[in-house]
Symmetry: D2
């Protein structure tokens, strides 16, 4: 395995563009941060997420880079959806009763403007907190203060082992 | 940049777990495949997507691994949403008139079962093809033949430069 | 009460247009049909719904008339959403275990073409049947065989008293 | 036609329950109000909607009665969806440029609590105002100040004849 990793890295260092290496460096930074307990999942590590959970809201920030692009060269809707889902999920899990976790059962996202700026932040708040389900909303704002994407999600509470 | 990449790779080779190295190897493979034109975006490269576009449908397959996990250790809803959005988007772009591209304006996903199996495939089909908008649906099936996630999306047609 | 009803009916008969009387006649027919047990709810009676539940699908049909129009003179999106929700809900309740009922927890509808024709029918099918939740989809087709509206819904199973 | 209306009304006055007559009286009141220009559509008349459009928000109120019930005896999700869609649509039309109208292209609603109280009000606000599309949100609050239903909608701008 280690030999494979060294070999593939060397190929990239030889054949990759500057953009390829920037993406790789960002990912390697995230993976090292995960070893240092800065991330609790690979998704968070690969996207370099930083979370800020407060009592009634949660924000997750990540850098905007080629890593997130679709083949049109703009941020992939799935990446915005992932950020929105993560912000809502982090708040839902924080609000869940002791011993319970929250999993997304349904997600709706409106993509209304291309993402601009060097980083993107989704901020989540709660719409409904029930005994078995929660509904949250989250927005990603562009630097001009206008909404770039807005989502709502249904979460289901499950017992954690 | 190259020095940074070498340094960060070495730290991971020293401190990383087997799981960390497996994730890294998968990503390096994707980035090398992108250099060889197998992927048209970093999102596709990092998730090792394989696409199969036919006349009226489109399937995108990707391996299920720790890379996709959220902090509960199951496939992150955002990753399933990304796969569904990519399958619908690929079909929408294939169906778009010459010189036009399709961008997601809205996405709704139902997550109904945890993803199981070693790879996951989203298959998209068209519900409505208008002059300015399209609506598509896509499902991810588990190996037992049951739906794991189902999504619908609204796409907006734009002129490509 | 009866005096009020008589008085208001007479005012309508005097001042109403032909369109007003057509709408009223349709509603009175529905209310009389409800007395004859043809409908189990006022919503169904007022919209003159006819349901056809089979083992794995459910269709609900209703006449298209001015009753359903919004102020632009086309079928109100809420009326299409109601028909779609009713078709999915009827099938969900039919599939629910003995002693359980299904209530909509979330509904997503795409309105892709104006409704045309003299009646509209929503046909529902099941995407996921769990122990506590179900997800269904339903479409309204225009006479030309193309989709006019497509919806998906999440249903929650509750114990019936 | 007039003879039919008289005949059907008389049958209801003879055979209908108190609840049937209450529903009929409410509908007759709405239809008469429409003649007096209080409503611009039959949907609004039949549901006795009252609208209050301000510069940046719009509220629509309607009485809660048996008229709105599904066969479980609670407010039909389609009726809540209709109220939410109407509030968003009224605001979208108010915000649309001169000569343009707004039609719903997609609607997502979360139903989180049964509707309680004697009337229900949806209040809409704008999330995104583009040149060709708008995205709005609206909530129905219960008398206890908690959300009963929350929706978002995509609107498409069309030229009015």
């Amino acid at each position: 395995m280690k030999e494979d990793v060294r070999h593939l890295t060397n190929k990239l260092l030889t054949d990759g563009t500057q953009e390829d290496l920037t993406v790789l460096k960002q990912i390697l930074t995230g993976l090292n941060d995960k070893i240092n307990k800065k991330h609790t999942s690979f998704t968070s590590a690969l996207l370099n997420m930083e979370r800020n959970v407060e009592e009634k809201s949660c924000s997750i920030k990540m850098p905007v880079s080629s890593t997130l692009h679709n083949s049109l060269g703009i941020v992939h809707g799935g990446m915005s959806a992932t950020l929105i889902d993560t912000a809502m999920g982090a708040l839902a899990n924080q609000l869940a009763p002791e011993g319970m976790g929250a999993v997304t059962s349904q997600l709706n996202v409106h993509f209304v403007q291309p993402i601009s700026g060097e980083e993107m932040t989704a901020t989540a708040s709660i719409l409904h907190q029930g005994r078995k389900t929660m509904v949250l909303e989250a927005s990603i704002m562009n630097p001009d203060g206008k909404i770039a994407a807005h989502g709502t999600g249904s979460f289901y509470l499950i017992e954690m082992k």
